[in-house]
Structures are given as C-alpha cells and as structure tokens.
Amino acid sequence: MADEKSNAEAYWKANVRLITGCLIVWALVSYGCAILLRPLLSSIPVGGTDLGFWFAQQGSILTFIGLIFFYAWKMNRLDKQYGLEE
C-alpha cells in the first residue's frame, strides 16, 4: 500500500515536471519569440520580414502541435512505466 502510494506520487511528480517543461517552451515561443523578444530577433530575416513575425503567425502554432503530441507520447510511456495505464 505504501509502495503503491509512493509510486503514484512519483508518477505525479514526473508528470508535473513534464508539464512545467512543456509550458516553458509554450511561453517561450509565443510570449517570448513572437512578442517580447521580437526586437532581439529582428536581425534574422525570414521571407521579407523577421523571425519574430514568423513565430507570431506560424512558428508558435507549429510548436504547440508538436508540444501536445510530445506530451501525449511521453505520458503514455510514464503511464506504462508506473503501471498506471488503463
């Protein structure tokens, strides 16, 4: 019982760590590259404009899609690793 409980706690900790990592990337591409850091990225040209504009109109959406699939894949492995899958 105690083992089961600590196993479940370890699973939840691993999940929260993974979520935190994913959300840092999520914030970095949208609030970072596309908005706040855009002036710093303005020297990198992309098709007639700069990298920040690309992140605002395409890059962040593509990253979001990648993030969700990465998270879903990682969680499936965590579920199995901790024996908590359905």
């Binding site: 609030y31 605002a56 395409q58 962040s60 969700i68 998270y71 879903a72 579920d79 024996g83 359905e86």
Partner: protein
Amino acid sequence: MSQFAINILFVGASFALYIGIAIWAKAGSTKDFYVAGGGVHPITNGMAIGADWMSAASFISMAGLIAAGGYANSTFLMGWTGGYVLLALLLAPYLRKFGKFTVPEFIGDRFYSRTARMVAVVCLIVASLTYVIGQMAGAGVAFSRFLEVDATTGLIIAAVVVFFYSVLGGMKGITYTQVAQYIVLIVAYTIPAVFISLELTGNPLPPLGLFSDHSASGEPLLSKLNEVVTALGFNAYTAMVDNKLNMVLFTLSLMIGTAGLPHVIMRFFTVPKVADARWSAGWALVFIGLLYLTAPAVASMARLNLMTTIYPDMAGQVENYDAAASNAIAYGDRPDWIRTWEETGLITFEDKNNDGNIQFYNDSTDFADRGWQGNELTVNNDILVLANPEIANLPSWVIGLIAAGGLAAALSTAAGLLLAISSAISHDLIKGAINPRITERGELKAARISMSIAIVVATYLGANPPGFAAQVVALAFGIAAASLFPVLMMGIFSKRVNNKGAIAGMLSGLTFTLVYIFIYKGWFFIPGTNNLADTPENWVLGISPLSIGAVGAIINFAVAYLVSKSSEEPPREIQELVESVRYPKGAGGAVNH
C-alpha cells in the same frame, strides 16, 4: 447555371448530409445525449473539436482582422491555438478521468458545494449564450448574402437544421455532423487560398506562399505589402507593437479563455480513455492548425489584392509609389464584386473630392498634395474571406463552397454551445438541484426540451442582437478565463483548495473582470453608461478591457489560495477524489452517478 442556383446546390447538399447523419445517429440514452456514448475515436473527436471550435469568427472574421491589423493581430492566431496546449496538459485528461457529463458537475463535486456548481452554471450560460448569438447572426448574414433571403428567414432555416440534429442526436448527432462540417469548412477555406497563393506567389501552399516572393514584383510578398500599405499612409503590415504588456495579456486571456470554454471541454468527455483525451487534443490542434496556418496567408494576400485592385499601378514593380497612388481606378470602372458587396452595405463609397476615382487610404495621414480629401472607400473586415473568390476571379462553384463552409462553421459551433447550455440546465440545474430523483428517461426528455428552448432563445436573440452580443471576445473569453479555468485547474493540481476558496476565487475573478469591462464598455453594455472612454490612454497600465480576463484569472488564483489557506482542509474523500483524477488507471466510460 446561375450563381444563386450553385449556392443553393452546395448549401442544400451539405444540409441534406447533416440531416441524414442526424437520423442515423439518434440518441437513445443520456449517455448518448451528453457524451455520444463515450466511444468516439480520438481522431474523430479531434475533427469534431475543430468544427466545434472554429466558429463564424474563425472562418469569416479572423483573416479580415489579421489583414487589417497585420502583426498586431497575430494575438488571435496564438491565443486561439495556444489554449489547446493548456487543455491537453492541464485539464482534458483529468476531467475525462473524472468521468462525469458536465463542467459544473466537476466543480460541484470537487468543491463539495452546490453553490460552486450554480456559479459555474451561470458563468457557462452567460459565456455560451453570448457566443451562440454571434453564430446565429453570422449564419443569418451568410444566408442573406448567398441565398438571397432576408437575414431573419435565413436564421430560422439555420435554426431548424440545428434543431433537427441536436435535439434528436444530442452529442452523438452533433459529433458526427461536426466531422462532416469540419470537412466542408476546411475544403471551402483552403481551395480559394490555394488559388490565390498560386496566383500571387506561384506557391500552391498558402503558409509557404506567405513567406515567398510576390510573382508580379519579384519582391518578398510581405515587403511588397509593407511598401504598398505605407505608401497609402497605413502602418506597415509587419510593424512592431509598442504596448507589449497588453499584447501579452490579450494573448494570455484568449489562451486561458479557450481552455476554460465548457463547449470545448465537453468534447473531451466523449473519448474512451484518458490517453485518448490527450491524443485528441493534439489531433484537434492539427485540424485547427490547417485553417489557422492558412488564415494569415489569406489575410496578407487578400489585403494586397484589395489594394492593387484599387491602385492597379501598384501591382507590379513600382518605381514611384506617389505616381502609382495617383492612378486609382474610376468608381464607374469598379469590379463586379465591389458592386455586389455595396448592396449589402459592407462596402461603401463616397466621392469626397469629386474626381470620380476611388481614394482608399489611411486619412489620419495628410495626402492633400495628392489632391485627396479623405478616405472614400470603407470595407468591412468580415467580407475579405467571403469575397476572396470573387476578388481573385475564381470559378462560381468556389463561391458556393464558401457559402456552405461559412454556414458549416457557424452551425457546428452553435450546436456545441447549445449542447453545453442545455446539459447545464437538464443535468446540473434539474437533476443536480431541482429534482435529483428524475429518471433516466425523464432527464433525456428534459435535455431535449432545454435544447429546444435554448435554440428558440438563441434564434430570437440572433435576430434581435442585444448590446452584449458584440462583446464575444471580452465577455465569453473574459468569463471563461477569469472564472472557470482557474478553479478547474486548481481542482486538479491542488488538494488544499476548498469550497470557500473556489467560490471566493470565482466570484472575485468574475466581478473584477466584469467591472473593468463595464467601466469602458458601459454597464451591462448599455451604450452611454461607461465611466471612461474605451481608448488606450484611459486603460490602466495600457491594459485593454479585452485583455483583462488574464488579470481576473490571476486574482481568482490568488483569492482561492489565500481563502483556502485560512480555512479548513477539504474532507478526506475529496482529497481522494483529486488523487483518483490524477491517475489514468481505472477510468472506465463516462458514467452517470
């Protein structure tokens, strides 16, 4: 065949398809009605979420907004997609594991409080009703433009179709019609975009075309667009935004608002397993992304097309933009699509300097040296997507397709919202509070009756929109962001937040947000009752009323935390409930108590 006949054919065929699906997917139980039986495949659900999510605003208005605002309006692109990351990571899998039918039900159970559940019901109904009125009105406009009936008649036709498949099939009927509607709307959106991208850049993929060279001038498309619009006094399309705080908060409000909207969350209750809820969020964003990656391309290309239609000399390589600007088309020579849209009042012209030509520019810049005495053409943002095929001279079947696509976008979202409203009434209000002993058959009947009433109310308000209907972004997203999202997240990630904390958090987040909106937009949106003019100089720290939902959410989190800290821990069984929600093992299908 006439354009009218083609439009009728496309719209009629798509409606026949939806009705066919409704008859095939009739709901036999409350489980069918609320969660489509709970066995929807994640890819199917992803597609249904796509249609559920992408409304008349995404389909019709968004590209127009981006065309007008350029980089500054990228907030809509990031905000309305980034919310899915929050859904997938923070809410969907756990709410699916919880395994009940509605969002207020989770709030009521987790915070062991009927009051909390009722606050959630009110938030849900206000947010969803605001949202659905816009969809109904949008469907009415699409009807009146493409099918030559007046907007109210169009609205009633739309309501009858929605009535048919949502009352009969509930979530089950809605799921499969939404899949069909997704296919109709995405085909309708991308085909004209591909044609226009080919025409302007030679690249058949619009998202790549956006960053390619403009064929006629040989310059990158976006540089060309910047030159053209700045020559006419407008801001550069890719210009930086000075008020970064507001841009960040607006994007954040849209993201957490998206994640907190009950009609989207509900769709995750329909998949068999927790893992499927995660996958279906990913698939949903793929299907949404197809449109959201196309929209910015459509926006810039449509804007350039519009400008070079008025100023033909700007189309190719331009030596002298002043000279090119002085050679606008004569009003008498305007293309047919301008004439058609003038009839709807969405394009208007007034020859201020009586030269017979169209001057279309930003008249906060003085161009008196060009003999201009003010902007003469006003073009409503909403027509860009609808008029795109005509501006680009595409064949008439493409226009029929756009009509069917716009209606699919409006109706699919309307149905999802109506289901959220009716299940809150039949499941949370009637079964949860008024008559807990209602039978399964009785509840199904109550669900169908509430759905019917919701449709009638939404149709009436769509035809006679009240002041708040135009405030979808502020009201629906503000409420979802400031009240629902934070308590849902805390309910999963904290065992310590208790009933008092949740109620205090929701009410303070909601009140703060609404008061801030009312100060600038008028109390209850009644014109003239605002305390301050809604201009950037008056906003606190430059934060617009549209962006305030994010601040309301932070207040909600803080108040809930502090109030919970200073009162007792939630009971043992609630802490166990939180634990059970966190682990996928032992989920089973969505069940009734």
